[in-house]
Protein backbone atom coordinates (compact mmCIF):
# COMPACT_ATOMS: atom_id res chain seq x y z
CA UNK A 1 0.00 0.00 0.00
CA UNK A 2 2.75 2.40 1.06
CA UNK A 3 4.83 1.50 -2.00
CA UNK A 4 2.08 2.20 -4.46
CA UNK A 5 1.40 5.57 -2.84
CA UNK A 6 5.05 6.47 -3.21
CA UNK A 7 5.06 5.46 -6.84
CA UNK A 8 2.03 7.62 -7.41
CA UNK A 9 3.72 10.61 -5.80
CA UNK A 10 6.83 10.08 -7.91
CA UNK A 11 4.89 10.04 -11.14
CA UNK A 12 2.84 13.06 -10.06
CA UNK A 13 6.04 14.95 -9.36
CA UNK A 14 7.66 14.15 -12.69
CA UNK A 15 7.65 16.50 -15.64
CA UNK A 16 5.70 14.11 -17.86
CA UNK A 17 2.20 15.19 -19.02
CA UNK A 18 -0.55 14.19 -16.57
CA UNK A 19 -1.80 10.67 -17.23
CA UNK A 20 -5.45 10.30 -18.27
CA UNK A 21 -7.60 9.71 -15.18
CA UNK A 22 -8.09 6.05 -14.41
CA UNK A 23 -11.86 6.34 -14.60
CA UNK A 24 -14.57 8.77 -15.58
CA UNK A 25 -18.37 8.91 -15.80
CA UNK A 26 -21.30 9.76 -13.58
CA UNK A 27 -24.92 8.96 -12.85
CA UNK A 28 -27.11 12.01 -12.68
CA UNK A 29 -30.83 12.44 -12.10
CA UNK A 30 -32.98 13.83 -14.92
CA UNK A 31 -35.24 16.57 -13.56
CA UNK A 32 -38.16 18.38 -15.17
CA UNK A 33 -39.05 21.64 -13.42
CA UNK A 34 -39.26 21.34 -9.62
CA UNK A 35 -37.97 17.81 -8.89
CA UNK A 36 -39.68 17.79 -5.48
CA UNK A 37 -38.22 16.52 -2.22
CA UNK A 38 -39.16 12.89 -2.76
CA UNK A 39 -36.64 12.50 -5.60
CA UNK A 40 -33.70 12.97 -3.24
CA UNK A 41 -35.21 12.33 0.20
CA UNK A 42 -37.10 9.06 -0.22
CA UNK A 43 -35.33 6.15 1.46
CA UNK A 44 -36.20 3.15 -0.74
CA UNK A 45 -37.21 0.06 1.21
CA UNK A 46 -37.91 -3.42 -0.13
CA UNK A 47 -41.28 -5.10 -0.29
CA UNK A 48 -40.66 -7.93 2.13
CA UNK A 49 -43.42 -10.01 0.59
CA UNK A 50 -41.75 -10.10 -2.83
CA UNK A 51 -37.95 -10.25 -2.66
CA UNK A 52 -37.57 -11.43 -6.24
CA UNK A 53 -39.42 -8.50 -7.75
CA UNK A 54 -36.85 -6.12 -9.26
CA UNK A 55 -36.99 -2.37 -8.64
CA UNK A 56 -36.06 -1.50 -12.22
CA UNK A 57 -35.75 -3.52 -15.41
CA UNK A 58 -34.54 -2.20 -18.74
CA UNK A 59 -33.51 -3.11 -22.26
CA UNK A 60 -31.81 -1.47 -25.21
CA UNK A 61 -31.59 -3.56 -28.37
CA UNK A 62 -31.46 -3.21 -32.15
CA UNK A 63 -33.67 -5.41 -34.32
CA UNK A 64 -32.05 -6.51 -37.57
CA UNK A 65 -33.44 -7.83 -40.80
CA UNK A 66 -32.29 -11.27 -41.99
CA UNK A 67 -28.84 -9.83 -42.61
CA UNK A 68 -26.91 -7.12 -40.81
CA UNK A 69 -29.17 -4.16 -41.39
CA UNK A 70 -30.85 -2.61 -38.35
CA UNK A 71 -34.60 -2.23 -38.92
CA UNK A 72 -35.52 -0.63 -35.62
CA UNK A 73 -34.07 0.38 -32.25
CA UNK A 74 -35.97 -0.60 -29.13
CA UNK A 75 -35.58 0.88 -25.66
CA UNK A 76 -37.64 -0.22 -22.67
CA UNK A 77 -37.68 0.44 -18.95
CA UNK A 78 -39.96 -0.23 -16.01
CA UNK A 79 -39.05 1.75 -12.90
CA UNK A 80 -40.55 1.42 -9.40
CA UNK A 81 -42.23 4.66 -8.35
CA UNK A 82 -40.94 6.81 -5.48
CA UNK A 83 -44.12 6.19 -3.48
CA UNK A 84 -43.70 2.41 -3.79
CA UNK A 85 -40.04 2.76 -2.80
CA UNK A 86 -40.98 4.86 0.22
CA UNK A 87 -43.79 2.58 1.40
CA UNK A 88 -42.06 -0.71 0.60
CA UNK A 89 -44.37 -1.88 -2.18
CA UNK A 90 -43.32 -3.75 -5.32
CA UNK A 91 -43.24 -2.27 -8.78
CA UNK A 92 -46.66 -3.13 -10.23
CA UNK A 93 -45.82 -2.13 -13.82
CA UNK A 94 -44.39 -4.60 -16.31
CA UNK A 95 -43.46 -4.83 -19.97
CA UNK A 96 -42.71 -7.64 -22.37
CA UNK A 97 -41.60 -7.80 -26.00
CA UNK A 98 -40.87 -10.57 -28.44
CA UNK A 99 -40.39 -10.99 -32.16
CA UNK A 100 -42.29 -13.59 -34.15
CA UNK A 101 -40.05 -16.50 -35.20
CA UNK A 102 -40.35 -15.48 -38.88
CA UNK A 103 -38.99 -12.05 -37.92
CA UNK A 104 -41.98 -10.25 -39.40
CA UNK A 105 -43.64 -8.75 -36.33
CA UNK A 106 -42.52 -7.20 -33.08
CA UNK A 107 -45.05 -7.68 -30.28
CA UNK A 108 -44.95 -5.42 -27.22
CA UNK A 109 -47.07 -5.56 -24.07
CA UNK A 110 -47.16 -2.87 -21.37
CA UNK A 111 -49.18 -3.43 -18.19
CA UNK A 112 -49.95 -1.45 -15.04
CA UNK A 113 -51.12 -3.52 -12.07
CA UNK A 114 -54.00 -1.88 -10.21
CA UNK A 115 -52.60 -0.37 -6.99
CA UNK A 116 -55.19 -1.72 -4.60
CA UNK A 117 -54.60 -5.39 -5.49
CA UNK A 118 -51.96 -7.11 -3.35
CA UNK A 119 -50.95 -9.37 -6.25
CA UNK A 120 -51.49 -6.94 -9.10
CA UNK A 121 -47.84 -7.14 -10.10
CA UNK A 122 -48.46 -10.80 -10.95
CA UNK A 123 -51.40 -9.78 -13.13
CA UNK A 124 -49.14 -7.25 -14.87
CA UNK A 125 -46.43 -9.87 -15.44
CA UNK A 126 -48.99 -12.31 -16.87
CA UNK A 127 -50.51 -9.69 -19.17
CA UNK A 128 -47.25 -8.21 -20.40
CA UNK A 129 -45.04 -11.28 -20.69
CA UNK A 130 -47.36 -14.26 -21.03
CA UNK A 131 -49.77 -12.17 -23.12
CA UNK A 132 -47.02 -11.23 -25.56
CA UNK A 133 -46.02 -14.87 -25.83
CA UNK A 134 -49.61 -15.88 -26.59
CA UNK A 135 -49.90 -13.14 -29.17
CA UNK A 136 -46.70 -14.21 -30.90
CA UNK A 137 -48.11 -17.73 -31.03
CA UNK A 138 -51.39 -16.51 -32.52
CA UNK A 139 -49.53 -14.50 -35.18
CA UNK A 140 -48.09 -17.73 -36.60
CA UNK A 141 -51.44 -18.46 -38.16
CA UNK A 142 -53.34 -15.15 -38.07
CA UNK A 143 -52.36 -11.79 -39.52
CA UNK A 144 -52.77 -8.83 -37.14
CA UNK A 145 -55.66 -7.31 -39.09
CA UNK A 146 -57.55 -10.60 -38.75
CA UNK A 147 -56.74 -11.18 -35.10
CA UNK A 148 -59.83 -12.02 -33.00
CA UNK A 149 -58.88 -9.49 -30.30
CA UNK A 150 -61.82 -10.12 -27.92
CA UNK A 151 -60.94 -13.84 -27.84
CA UNK A 152 -57.30 -13.03 -27.26
CA UNK A 153 -58.06 -10.62 -24.39
CA UNK A 154 -60.41 -13.19 -22.87
CA UNK A 155 -57.58 -15.72 -22.93
CA UNK A 156 -55.24 -13.26 -21.16
CA UNK A 157 -57.98 -12.50 -18.62
CA UNK A 158 -58.37 -16.24 -18.00
CA UNK A 159 -54.62 -16.55 -17.28
CA UNK A 160 -54.86 -13.78 -14.70
CA UNK A 161 -58.01 -15.21 -13.17
CA UNK A 162 -56.30 -18.62 -12.85
CA UNK A 163 -53.36 -17.05 -10.95
CA UNK A 164 -55.83 -15.39 -8.59
CA UNK A 165 -57.83 -18.57 -7.93
CA UNK A 166 -54.65 -20.56 -7.40
CA UNK A 167 -53.55 -18.04 -4.79
CA UNK A 168 -56.97 -18.14 -3.12
CA UNK A 169 -56.68 -21.93 -2.91
CA UNK A 170 -53.16 -21.68 -1.50
CA UNK A 171 -54.29 -19.25 1.19
CA UNK A 172 -57.09 -21.48 2.43
CA UNK A 173 -60.18 -20.48 0.49
CA UNK A 174 -62.30 -23.65 0.61
CA UNK A 175 -63.80 -23.36 -2.86
CA UNK A 176 -61.78 -20.82 -4.85
CA UNK A 177 -63.84 -21.44 -7.98
CA UNK A 178 -66.96 -20.21 -6.22
CA UNK A 179 -65.37 -16.80 -5.57
CA UNK A 180 -66.90 -14.18 -7.88
CA UNK A 181 -64.56 -12.85 -10.55
CA UNK A 182 -64.94 -9.33 -9.14
CA UNK A 183 -63.41 -10.51 -5.86
CA UNK A 184 -60.56 -12.21 -7.70
CA UNK A 185 -59.99 -8.87 -9.41
CA UNK A 186 -59.68 -7.20 -5.99
CA UNK A 187 -56.66 -9.43 -5.42
CA UNK A 188 -55.00 -8.84 -8.77
CA UNK A 189 -55.89 -6.73 -11.78
CA UNK A 190 -54.00 -4.92 -14.48
CA UNK A 191 -54.39 -2.61 -17.42
CA UNK A 192 -52.66 -3.73 -20.58
CA UNK A 193 -51.72 -2.38 -23.98
CA UNK A 194 -50.50 -4.53 -26.86
CA UNK A 195 -48.75 -3.35 -29.98
CA UNK A 196 -48.02 -5.44 -33.05
CA UNK A 197 -45.50 -3.70 -35.30
CA UNK A 198 -44.91 -4.91 -38.84
CA UNK A 199 -41.12 -4.84 -39.22
CA UNK A 200 -41.47 -4.90 -43.00
CA UNK A 201 -42.21 -1.31 -43.98
CA UNK A 202 -44.65 -0.31 -46.72
CA UNK A 203 -43.51 2.85 -48.50
CA UNK A 204 -41.05 3.40 -45.63
CA UNK A 205 -43.68 3.25 -42.85
CA UNK A 206 -44.32 0.43 -40.41
CA UNK A 207 -47.91 -0.53 -39.72
CA UNK A 208 -48.85 -0.74 -36.03
CA UNK A 209 -51.88 -2.44 -34.47
CA UNK A 210 -52.78 -1.35 -30.93
CA UNK A 211 -55.23 -2.92 -28.49
CA UNK A 212 -55.73 -1.87 -24.90
CA UNK A 213 -57.77 -2.37 -21.75
CA UNK A 214 -57.50 0.56 -19.31
CA UNK A 215 -55.41 3.69 -19.30
CA UNK A 216 -52.04 2.45 -20.52
CA UNK A 217 -51.42 4.65 -23.55
CA UNK A 218 -49.78 4.60 -26.97
CA UNK A 219 -48.24 7.61 -28.67
CA UNK A 220 -46.39 8.32 -31.85
CA UNK A 221 -43.71 10.95 -31.45
CA UNK A 222 -43.94 12.60 -34.83
CA UNK A 223 -41.22 14.66 -36.44
CA UNK A 224 -40.83 18.08 -34.88
CA UNK A 225 -41.45 16.65 -31.40
CA UNK A 226 -45.24 16.42 -31.68
CA UNK A 227 -46.88 13.82 -29.45
CA UNK A 228 -49.78 12.15 -31.24
CA UNK A 229 -52.03 10.16 -28.88
CA UNK A 230 -53.42 6.95 -30.34
CA UNK A 231 -56.54 7.05 -28.13
CA UNK A 232 -58.48 9.52 -25.98
CA UNK A 233 -56.33 11.17 -23.29
CA UNK A 234 -57.29 10.14 -19.73
CA UNK A 235 -59.80 12.35 -17.90
CA UNK A 236 -60.15 14.59 -20.93
CA UNK A 237 -63.19 16.76 -20.39
CA UNK A 238 -63.98 14.99 -17.12
CA UNK A 239 -65.32 17.19 -14.30
CA UNK A 240 -63.58 15.34 -11.54
CA UNK A 241 -60.37 13.36 -11.48
CA UNK A 242 -61.28 9.69 -11.64
CA UNK A 243 -59.01 6.91 -10.49
CA UNK A 244 -61.25 4.01 -11.48
CA UNK A 245 -59.75 2.06 -14.35
CA UNK A 246 -60.69 -0.80 -16.59
CA UNK A 247 -58.51 -3.76 -15.80
CA UNK A 248 -58.18 -7.48 -16.53
CA UNK A 249 -59.34 -10.09 -15.48
CA UNK A 250 -62.56 -8.05 -15.77
CA UNK A 251 -63.39 -7.44 -19.40
CA UNK A 252 -65.10 -4.20 -20.33
CA UNK A 253 -68.59 -4.70 -21.76
CA UNK A 254 -67.49 -3.19 -25.05
CA UNK A 255 -63.86 -3.64 -26.00
CA UNK A 256 -62.43 -0.58 -27.69
CA UNK A 257 -61.74 -1.29 -31.36
CA UNK A 258 -58.08 -1.86 -32.24
CA UNK A 259 -56.27 1.25 -33.40
CA UNK A 260 -54.11 1.22 -36.53
CA UNK A 261 -51.38 3.71 -37.15
CA UNK A 262 -47.96 3.88 -38.80
CA UNK A 263 -44.54 4.85 -37.58
CA UNK A 264 -41.68 5.81 -39.91
CA UNK A 265 -37.97 6.57 -39.61
CA UNK A 266 -37.59 9.91 -37.78
CA UNK A 267 -40.55 9.02 -35.57
CA UNK A 268 -41.00 6.81 -32.52
CA UNK A 269 -43.77 4.57 -31.25
CA UNK A 270 -43.97 5.07 -27.46
CA UNK A 271 -46.08 2.92 -25.14
CA UNK A 272 -46.40 4.11 -21.53
CA UNK A 273 -48.17 3.37 -18.27
CA UNK A 274 -49.95 6.27 -16.57
CA UNK A 275 -46.87 6.93 -14.41
CA UNK A 276 -45.48 8.46 -17.60
CA UNK A 277 -48.81 9.22 -19.30
CA UNK A 278 -50.17 11.41 -16.49
CA UNK A 279 -47.22 13.84 -16.36
CA UNK A 280 -47.10 13.70 -20.18
CA UNK A 281 -50.74 14.89 -20.31
CA UNK A 282 -51.35 15.99 -23.90
CA UNK A 283 -47.64 16.15 -24.58
CA UNK A 284 -47.60 19.93 -24.78
CA UNK A 285 -46.19 20.59 -21.30
CA UNK A 286 -42.69 20.49 -19.83
CA UNK A 287 -42.59 16.68 -19.66
CA UNK A 288 -43.77 16.39 -23.26
CA UNK A 289 -40.98 18.73 -24.40
CA UNK A 290 -38.38 16.93 -22.31
CA UNK A 291 -39.23 13.46 -23.62
CA UNK A 292 -39.61 14.71 -27.20
CA UNK A 293 -36.09 16.12 -27.02
CA UNK A 294 -34.33 13.17 -25.44
CA UNK A 295 -36.26 10.68 -27.55
CA UNK A 296 -35.90 12.48 -30.88
CA UNK A 297 -33.42 9.68 -31.56
CA UNK A 298 -32.87 6.45 -29.62
CA UNK A 299 -30.89 7.08 -26.41
CA UNK A 300 -27.47 5.46 -26.42
CA UNK A 301 -28.41 2.67 -24.00
CA UNK A 302 -31.22 1.04 -22.10
CA UNK A 303 -29.70 2.47 -18.94
CA UNK A 304 -29.91 6.01 -20.25
CA UNK A 305 -33.50 5.41 -21.37
CA UNK A 306 -34.40 4.09 -17.90
CA UNK A 307 -32.89 7.19 -16.30
CA UNK A 308 -35.04 9.35 -18.58
CA UNK A 309 -38.17 7.34 -17.77
CA UNK A 310 -37.33 7.88 -14.09
CA UNK A 311 -37.17 11.69 -14.40
CA UNK A 312 -37.85 13.62 -11.19
CA UNK A 313 -40.83 15.98 -11.14
CA UNK A 314 -42.54 17.06 -7.96
CA UNK A 315 -45.47 14.92 -6.82
CA UNK A 316 -45.19 12.39 -9.69
CA UNK A 317 -44.27 9.28 -7.75
CA UNK A 318 -46.07 6.43 -9.53
CA UNK A 319 -44.38 3.42 -11.19
CA UNK A 320 -43.18 4.33 -14.67
CA UNK A 321 -42.90 2.13 -17.71
CA UNK A 322 -42.12 3.01 -21.31
CA UNK A 323 -41.30 0.96 -24.38
CA UNK A 324 -40.18 2.93 -27.41
CA UNK A 325 -39.40 1.82 -30.95
CA UNK A 326 -37.50 3.90 -33.51
CA UNK A 327 -37.68 2.56 -37.09
CA UNK A 328 -34.39 2.91 -38.96
CA UNK A 329 -34.36 3.96 -42.62
CA UNK A 330 -33.13 1.41 -45.15
CA UNK A 331 -30.08 2.30 -47.19
Amino acid sequence: MGASTREHEESAGSAEPAAAPAWRGRVEQFEVGDPGRAATRVVPVPDESAWDRRDTVLDGVALKDGGRRVVAELRAASVRGLAHRAYGTVRQDEYGYRRTPDGRYLVVGVADGVSAGALSHKAAVAAARRGVNMLVHALRTTAPDRMPWPDFLRAVAAEIEAIGRKRLAATGTADPHAVPLREVANLLATTVLYAVVDLVPVAGAHEVHLVSVGDTSAWVLREGGRWEPQQAVKNDGAEVHSSSVQALPLLPAALPPPVRTTVAPGEALVLVTDGVGDPLGHGAGAVGRFLAEVWAAPPASGLEFAAQVGFARRSYDDDRTAVALWPVAGT
Partner: protein
Protein backbone atom coordinates in the same frame (compact mmCIF):
# COMPACT_ATOMS: atom_id res chain seq x y z
CA UNK B 1 -54.38 23.12 -22.02
CA UNK B 2 -55.38 20.40 -19.54
CA UNK B 3 -52.00 18.82 -19.38
CA UNK B 4 -49.41 17.64 -16.94
CA UNK B 5 -51.29 18.26 -13.67
CA UNK B 6 -49.66 17.61 -10.31
CA UNK B 7 -51.86 16.51 -7.41
CA UNK B 8 -52.25 18.58 -4.23
CA UNK B 9 -53.77 17.75 -0.86
CA UNK B 10 -54.86 20.91 1.04
CA UNK B 11 -55.18 20.75 4.86
CA UNK B 12 -56.56 23.55 7.02
CA UNK B 13 -56.42 23.98 10.77
CA UNK B 14 -59.26 26.19 12.01
CA UNK B 15 -58.70 26.85 15.69
CA UNK B 16 -60.59 28.59 18.46
CA UNK B 17 -58.51 31.29 20.22
CA UNK B 18 -61.30 32.71 22.38
CA UNK B 19 -60.36 33.92 25.88
CA UNK B 20 -61.00 30.48 27.40
CA UNK B 21 -58.13 29.02 25.33
CA UNK B 22 -55.47 30.95 27.30
CA UNK B 23 -52.71 29.22 29.26
CA UNK B 24 -51.63 25.64 28.61
CA UNK B 25 -54.30 25.05 25.95
CA UNK B 26 -52.87 27.89 23.87
CA UNK B 27 -49.36 26.56 24.42
CA UNK B 28 -50.36 23.19 23.01
CA UNK B 29 -52.23 24.87 20.15
CA UNK B 30 -49.01 26.64 19.25
CA UNK B 31 -47.21 23.29 19.15
CA UNK B 32 -49.47 21.89 16.40
CA UNK B 33 -47.76 23.66 13.50
CA UNK B 34 -44.18 22.72 14.45
CA UNK B 35 -45.34 19.11 14.93
CA UNK B 36 -46.85 19.06 11.43
CA UNK B 37 -43.61 20.50 10.04
CA UNK B 38 -41.60 17.72 11.75
CA UNK B 39 -43.93 15.04 10.43
CA UNK B 40 -43.76 16.38 6.86
CA UNK B 41 -39.98 16.65 7.02
CA UNK B 42 -39.87 12.88 7.52
CA UNK B 43 -42.41 12.15 4.75
CA UNK B 44 -41.07 13.49 1.44
CA UNK B 45 -43.71 11.75 -0.72
CA UNK B 46 -46.41 13.52 1.29
CA UNK B 47 -44.65 16.85 1.71
CA UNK B 48 -44.40 17.21 -2.08
CA UNK B 49 -48.22 17.26 -2.18
CA UNK B 50 -49.53 18.74 1.07
CA UNK B 51 -50.46 22.40 1.44
CA UNK B 52 -51.27 23.61 4.95
CA UNK B 53 -53.12 26.71 6.16
CA UNK B 54 -54.24 28.05 9.54
CA UNK B 55 -57.24 30.21 10.41
CA UNK B 56 -57.88 31.25 14.01
CA UNK B 57 -61.08 32.68 15.40
CA UNK B 58 -62.25 34.57 18.47
CA UNK B 59 -64.62 37.51 18.07
CA UNK B 60 -63.43 37.59 14.47
CA UNK B 61 -61.50 35.18 12.24
CA UNK B 62 -58.07 35.68 10.70
CA UNK B 63 -55.88 33.82 8.23
CA UNK B 64 -52.79 33.26 10.35
CA UNK B 65 -50.96 31.04 7.86
CA UNK B 66 -52.02 31.34 4.24
CA UNK B 67 -52.21 27.91 2.54
CA UNK B 68 -48.57 27.01 1.85
CA UNK B 69 -45.89 24.38 1.56
CA UNK B 70 -44.89 24.21 5.23
CA UNK B 71 -41.32 23.13 4.43
CA UNK B 72 -40.73 26.11 2.19
CA UNK B 73 -37.80 28.16 3.54
CA UNK B 74 -39.81 31.36 3.37
CA UNK B 75 -42.58 30.15 5.68
CA UNK B 76 -42.69 31.65 9.18
CA UNK B 77 -45.05 29.97 11.61
CA UNK B 78 -47.41 32.42 13.35
CA UNK B 79 -47.84 32.62 17.14
CA UNK B 80 -51.47 32.16 18.15
CA UNK B 81 -52.87 34.52 20.81
CA UNK B 82 -56.25 34.63 22.48
CA UNK B 83 -58.80 37.26 21.56
CA UNK B 84 -62.42 37.65 22.66
CA UNK B 85 -65.49 35.55 22.03
CA UNK B 86 -66.18 32.40 19.94
CA UNK B 87 -67.61 33.32 16.55
CA UNK B 88 -68.17 30.14 14.55
CA UNK B 89 -69.90 32.30 11.93
CA UNK B 90 -66.75 34.37 11.34
CA UNK B 91 -64.65 31.18 11.10
CA UNK B 92 -66.95 29.52 8.55
CA UNK B 93 -67.25 32.65 6.40
CA UNK B 94 -63.51 33.20 6.25
CA UNK B 95 -62.86 29.50 5.63
CA UNK B 96 -65.29 29.52 2.71
CA UNK B 97 -63.64 32.57 1.18
CA UNK B 98 -60.18 31.02 1.61
CA UNK B 99 -61.20 27.67 0.11
CA UNK B 100 -62.70 29.40 -2.88
CA UNK B 101 -59.74 31.65 -3.62
CA UNK B 102 -57.02 29.10 -2.73
CA UNK B 103 -58.45 26.31 -4.88
CA UNK B 104 -59.12 28.70 -7.75
CA UNK B 105 -55.52 29.89 -7.60
CA UNK B 106 -54.04 26.38 -7.36
CA UNK B 107 -56.10 25.23 -10.35
CA UNK B 108 -54.98 28.29 -12.30
CA UNK B 109 -51.41 27.30 -11.40
CA UNK B 110 -52.03 23.95 -13.07
CA UNK B 111 -52.62 21.68 -10.07
CA UNK B 112 -55.18 18.95 -9.66
CA UNK B 113 -56.59 19.70 -6.21
CA UNK B 114 -58.01 17.05 -3.90
CA UNK B 115 -60.94 17.96 -1.66
CA UNK B 116 -59.63 20.14 1.19
CA UNK B 117 -59.53 18.67 4.70
CA UNK B 118 -60.37 20.92 7.65
CA UNK B 119 -59.64 20.16 11.31
CA UNK B 120 -61.85 22.47 13.38
CA UNK B 121 -60.78 22.72 17.03
CA UNK B 122 -62.93 24.44 19.66
CA UNK B 123 -63.16 24.49 23.44
CA UNK B 124 -66.54 26.13 23.77
CA UNK B 125 -69.99 26.96 22.45
CA UNK B 126 -70.39 29.50 19.66
CA UNK B 127 -71.20 32.96 20.96
CA UNK B 128 -73.00 34.07 17.76
CA UNK B 129 -76.74 33.73 17.37
CA UNK B 130 -77.64 30.19 16.43
CA UNK B 131 -79.20 31.01 13.07
CA UNK B 132 -76.20 33.15 12.14
CA UNK B 133 -73.49 30.48 12.50
CA UNK B 134 -75.78 27.80 11.09
CA UNK B 135 -76.38 29.92 7.97
CA UNK B 136 -72.60 30.41 7.60
CA UNK B 137 -72.12 26.64 7.97
CA UNK B 138 -74.72 25.94 5.27
CA UNK B 139 -72.92 28.34 2.93
CA UNK B 140 -69.72 26.40 3.55
CA UNK B 141 -71.15 22.92 3.03
CA UNK B 142 -74.22 23.14 0.78
CA UNK B 143 -74.25 24.11 -2.90
CA UNK B 144 -70.54 24.89 -2.63
CA UNK B 145 -68.52 22.70 -5.00
CA UNK B 146 -65.33 23.15 -2.95
CA UNK B 147 -67.02 22.06 0.31
CA UNK B 148 -64.38 20.67 2.70
CA UNK B 149 -64.12 17.37 4.50
CA UNK B 150 -64.77 18.83 7.95
CA UNK B 151 -63.50 17.12 11.10
CA UNK B 152 -64.67 18.88 14.28
CA UNK B 153 -62.56 18.36 17.40
CA UNK B 154 -63.83 19.35 20.83
CA UNK B 155 -62.01 19.87 24.10
CA UNK B 156 -63.04 21.15 27.52
CA UNK B 157 -66.45 22.89 27.34
CA UNK B 158 -67.19 22.25 23.66
CA UNK B 159 -70.74 20.97 23.24
CA UNK B 160 -70.73 17.52 21.58
CA UNK B 161 -74.22 18.04 20.18
CA UNK B 162 -73.21 21.30 18.53
CA UNK B 163 -69.93 19.94 17.17
CA UNK B 164 -71.59 16.78 15.85
CA UNK B 165 -73.67 18.94 13.49
CA UNK B 166 -70.41 20.20 11.93
CA UNK B 167 -69.25 16.76 10.73
CA UNK B 168 -69.23 16.98 6.95
CA UNK B 169 -70.00 14.91 4.97
CA UNK B 170 -72.17 13.54 7.78
CA UNK B 171 -73.10 10.32 6.00
CA UNK B 172 -72.25 8.21 2.98
CA UNK B 173 -69.08 6.30 2.05
CA UNK B 174 -66.87 9.34 2.65
CA UNK B 175 -68.45 10.42 5.96
CA UNK B 176 -66.15 12.25 8.36
CA UNK B 177 -65.94 11.86 12.13
CA UNK B 178 -65.68 14.05 15.22
CA UNK B 179 -63.03 13.73 17.91
CA UNK B 180 -63.88 14.59 21.51
CA UNK B 181 -61.87 14.88 24.67
CA UNK B 182 -63.08 12.34 27.20
CA UNK B 183 -64.50 13.51 30.54
CA UNK B 184 -61.85 14.40 33.11
CA UNK B 185 -59.04 14.59 30.56
CA UNK B 186 -56.61 17.51 30.66
CA UNK B 187 -57.73 19.80 27.79
CA UNK B 188 -54.18 20.87 26.90
CA UNK B 189 -53.19 17.20 26.57
CA UNK B 190 -56.29 16.66 24.46
CA UNK B 191 -55.15 19.36 22.03
CA UNK B 192 -51.80 17.58 21.73
CA UNK B 193 -53.65 14.33 20.95
CA UNK B 194 -55.75 16.08 18.30
CA UNK B 195 -52.50 17.23 16.70
CA UNK B 196 -51.46 13.55 16.58
CA UNK B 197 -54.75 12.62 14.93
CA UNK B 198 -54.34 15.38 12.36
CA UNK B 199 -50.82 14.20 11.54
CA UNK B 200 -51.70 10.51 11.33
CA UNK B 201 -54.64 11.24 9.06
CA UNK B 202 -52.35 13.33 6.86
CA UNK B 203 -49.86 10.45 6.63
CA UNK B 204 -52.59 7.87 6.03
CA UNK B 205 -54.22 10.00 3.33
CA UNK B 206 -50.87 10.41 1.58
CA UNK B 207 -50.25 6.67 1.64
CA UNK B 208 -53.76 5.97 0.40
CA UNK B 209 -53.19 8.43 -2.44
CA UNK B 210 -50.06 6.44 -3.33
CA UNK B 211 -52.32 3.37 -3.63
CA UNK B 212 -54.46 5.12 -6.18
CA UNK B 213 -57.26 6.21 -3.83
CA UNK B 214 -58.47 9.68 -3.01
CA UNK B 215 -60.12 11.12 0.08
CA UNK B 216 -59.26 11.87 3.69
CA UNK B 217 -58.38 8.84 5.83
CA UNK B 218 -59.14 9.24 9.55
CA UNK B 219 -57.64 7.01 12.24
CA UNK B 220 -59.94 4.28 13.58
CA UNK B 221 -61.06 4.28 17.22
CA UNK B 222 -58.53 1.61 18.23
CA UNK B 223 -55.66 3.71 16.85
CA UNK B 224 -56.57 6.81 18.84
CA UNK B 225 -54.53 8.08 21.76
CA UNK B 226 -56.37 7.36 25.03
CA UNK B 227 -58.33 10.32 26.30
CA UNK B 228 -59.92 10.99 22.90
CA UNK B 229 -62.94 9.31 21.34
CA UNK B 230 -64.26 9.31 17.79
CA UNK B 231 -67.92 9.83 16.95
CA UNK B 232 -69.96 9.81 13.80
CA UNK B 233 -72.75 12.27 13.18
CA UNK B 234 -75.48 9.81 14.22
CA UNK B 235 -73.91 9.23 17.66
CA UNK B 236 -75.69 12.38 18.86
CA UNK B 237 -79.32 13.23 18.15
Amino acid sequence: MESDKAKLLPFYLVIDVSASMSGSKLEQANQIMPKVVDALADAPILSDKVRFGVIDFGSDAQVRLPLCDLLDDEVTLPALNVRGATSYAAAFRLLRAELESNVKQLKADGFQVHRPAVFFISDGEPTDRDEEWRAAFRDLTENFPIYPNLVPCGVDDANPRTLATLIHPASGPKAMRMYLMEQGQNPADAIAMIAEILISSMLASGQSMAQGNSGLILPAQQDLPSGISAYSSDDFV
